[in-house]
Amino acid sequence: MIDTLKFLAAPITLTILMAGILSYFGNHILSRGIIFIDIAVAQIAALGTMIGLLLGYAEESLNVQLISYAFTIIVISIFALTKFHKQVIPQEAIIGIIYCIGLGIALLLAERIPGGSNFISKTITGNLLWVTWGKVLECFVIFLVIGIIHLVFWKHFILISGTRNGLPYSLWRTRFYELIFYITFSIIIVKAVPGGGVFLIFTLLIAPASAATLFTDSWKKRFIWSWIIGTLGSITGIYLSYTLNISNAPAIVTLLGLVVFILAFIKLTARKLSLNNKNQAV
């Protein structure tokens, strides 16, 4: 028992850190309606890695990682600059297009690289369970730095995310904030996806925030609740993976996903019930 806990300690710590930073970003993403941005970023990062490999650098070398980050940041900056006063093409569509093209190029390059099929989004798996305390510390530092940046620009980001039509600031000022937001976001994603796999990160981003949004409107409350839901969900998922002997990330994803749907249905039927009661009372 103690051994199991010792073994699970590092993965669980990383999960708590990831659940924290991802639920923060997740609430923003949800408000902006660009849900699939992290899958697109993951694919672009994978494409960046492939380019690095094609240029001849060794896999897992520092050069390849840097190229991957650089490529991702360039692409995401272009995306940040596509914010207009009037969006003729919705931003989510632009993300879809970026994802599509990125995946297409990745498929073309895949056969020129040994193991190229590993860089195609569906197959981006990861396993938290092998993580070492060294890696956990690395992530903690990066998340902390980005967290501080976001603390500084806190108000601006919330204002932009909350604005449905038009822009709260002038065009270029908005774009400046957008750049900071998306670049920091991409760094988190590029760091997290190889560890957890694209679907786990995606779910930790969206599901806890969705669940929290069902029950409260205040930003602060949403952040706290999504962090809690994300952490609890992950720990339960790891526990299930252990006892039922099923794959780790799928367990967490399925669990959190089902929780959201169940909560949504509860919310739907609960209101119906209370409305019926009200009608009957009258």
């Binding site: 599509c100 297409g104 089902l258």
Partner: protein
């Protein structure tokens, strides 16, 4: 010895059929901002197929060879139906989660749950890969006829009732509309869309269908807001890109899906440039 034309004529016709139906649906999808719905529905259908695979395997002896896996199983359509119902129900004022988020979660759950089921029940992940790239180069006339029927029936249905569907899309954008019984029509929309996706993805693969859905419709948005114009523009862009893409894939011996996407992307960029130039002109 196969000549280029022999080889390409069937894929070309298959692409045209796909383009016709996806150009129309693509505009709905973009207007409703549920961009990734086709990937989600394809994966949900695949989950249905995984379930049916496991159910089958539990009955058959382990030495039975299952050669080609047809993802268009009965359960695939059933799960599409369920998903359609789910999305219709959850598109509700009381639920402040954007529909795209629910679609995304459904996608992630469908993918990972399929992994768990296959892991525990059978054990093969080939189908996931197959569906991504598709095998449009090897499409048979049999499949083209099947696709033609689906496109005609569902396309015709949507053409007849196009105003109803447009009305619901307006509701999605928060505008007024006079479509009666919006929930019913919304459900029909998702279900017919799901059927189209299952058939289309089987032939062309998830990536091609996604590209056909999103890119021409986005490009057409740059030039017009009228539906008929947009559909025609999208179809035109799709056709040109397909011809060039198929040719390139043949000549450079690359999978045709990325080749077509390449040209779709190029036409998008050219359109952006043209639009920018036009703007400068009018200033």
């Amino acid at each position: 010895m196969i000549s280029v034309l022999d080889f390409m004529i069937a894929p070309f016709i298959a692409c045209i059929l796909l383009i016709i139906i996806t150009s129309y649906f693509g505009i709905h999808v973009i207007e409703r901002e549920i961009i990734f719905i086709d990937i989600a529905l394809a994966q949900i259908a695949a989950f249905g197929s995984a379930v049916s695979l496991v159910i089958n395997k539990l009955g058959i002896s382990p030495h039975e060879d299952i050669h080609e896996h047809d993802s268009r199983t009965f359960l695939a359509y059933v799960f599409c139906l369920i998903a359609a119902g789910l999305f219709t129900l959850l598109k509700n004022k009381r639920i402040k989660i954007p529909l795209e988020a629910l679609i995304g979660i459904a996608y992630a759950v469908a993918t990972t749950a399929a992994v768990i089921i296959l892991d525990k029940g059978a054990g093969s992940d080939v189908h996931i890969h197959d569906m991504l790239v598709g095998s449009i180069l090897w499409v048979s006339w049999h499949q083209i006829i099947r696709l033609l029927i689906v496109v005609t029936v569902i396309g015709g249905f949507h053409f007849i009732f196009r105003d109803k569907f447009k009305g619901i899309t307006l509701l999605y954008q928060g505008k007024e509309s006079n479509t009666t019984r919006p929930k019913l029509w919304d459900f029909i929309f998702y279900f017919t869309f799901g059927i189209v996706i299952v058939e289309a993805v089987y032939v062309g693969g998830i990536l091609t269908v996604f590209a056909f859905l999103i890119i021409p419709a986005s490009t057409s948005a740059l030039f017009s807001t009228r539906w008929s114009r947009r559909v025609l523009t999208a179809i035109l862009i799709g056709c040109i890109s397909t011809i060039l893409g198929l040719y390139l894939s043949w000549v450079m011996d690359i999978p045709c899906s990325p080749a077509i996407i390449l040209f779709l992307a190029v036409s998008l960029f050219i359109s952006i440039i043209i639009k920018a130039l036009l703007k400068l002109k009018t200033h």
